[in-house]
Amino acid sequence: MDLDFSPVWQGMGGLMHGALVTVEVTVAALALSCCVGLLVGIARLDPKKRIIYTVASTYVLFFRGTPLLVQLFLLFFGLPQFDIMLPAFTCGMIGLGLYSGSYVSEIVRGAIQSIDNGQMEAARSMGMSYGQAMRIIILPQAVLRMVPPLGNEFIALIKNSALVSLLTISDLMHEGQKIISISYRSLEVYLAVALIYLVLTTAASQILRHVERRLRVGGMVQ
């Protein structure tokens, strides 16, 4: 068996550019995912608020319950039937973001519900509104508990982003396949691609570890 990595070295510029696109689409999707996840997670706290709860739950049901690839194709190939033509990058970002948001919403809900009820009672008994209590007292504590599972989600998002290569986006995966189509060196190129994904996910987990340390203030033990 002879391994020939020369196509990888020759195509390194493309791979690096692809890695940058992967980071861009992932970070954009993560931002969307966190915004959607926060809103949906809070909306699903109280089943008694029927309408909000039902809308949010339907969202989670759909986006968590169907394959990401199908969702991406619906956005990219399905929407044009309504004359909605979104750029590939936008489709990738929205698709990844909404899919991931359904998981993040459960992370948010779980973290908020894990905060002792006495915190909300103490805040409300001082005269805070529900919103104030959430913002000033509950969420700052809940965020700390969200970080470890959010780290998982972030890493899953980086890996899942390889699917956007099927929407003609020139991400890391796509650039790898371009090299293979000329060199026929699948093993070497996919190994290189895997290694670059590994570097990205490792960097992500380091960043999150740093964030967690920064957030854990004073003698706060949780």
Binding site: Q119, R124, S125, M126, G127, M128, G218, Q222
Partner: protein, 269 residues
Amino acid sequence: MIKPDMINKDGSQTGMTSSEKPILEIRDLGKSFGSVRVLHDISLTVMPSQVVVIIGPSGSGKSTLLRCCNCLEVPQEGSITICDKDIVTDGKMLPDKELNALRMHVGMVFQSFNLFPHLCVLDNVAVGPRKLRGMGKADAEALARRQLAKVGLENRADAYPAQLSGGQKQRVAIARALAMEPRVMLFDEPTSALDPELVGEVLQVMKALASEGMTMIVVTHEMGFARDVADEVLVMDGTVIEHGTPEEIFSNPRHPRTQSFLQSILSPG
């Protein structure tokens, strides 16, 4: 229906004078959790500077009654009036905005402290004045330091709750409530979660508060505190089964439930 008399600090009884309106008035209160009726037919009037201590066996509804007073629990029957405002009438609460405004005048201290663990001691006390009373950072912190000094913890302002002993935590919780400058303070078994040697420091702070004329409603098992500080003692078991001055309740209890409860708590074993 039992209507406790209004009693002045010196123990003499008076009717309601025009200058002195009750701070808290509970009329015919009833509360159920599902099919369990935990409170019924409770009426109570608390005058300014009065200290009312509520005692009774566990499960008798003491804490629930106290939590009804700031609508942490909503009673289905009867009404509660605080500072001339009806906060709840037959299960209907005041609109949220007015309720929040009124809650600022009702300080609450919990059995499990419920300090905010992500804020330092100073911020725990200053957060209310800053966010709810519209005070600037400097003013709020100055007020917080004054309240902390009052409970003897001005030197722990920069600590976080997790670094404090139970007694210190509860004193911070009292300072936090005081920083809202409440008209009445509710204490829900404030010493029950404390190691025995830490109970004294909290009771001392509460005694000092009472002697300053703070209106207080205290649910507690500390009979010594009830005897020394209370103007009025209520004995509860789903409703107020007996009420009177500490003298009357402790030296000469009339109701057999009171007698057996006091016996079990004063000479256990």
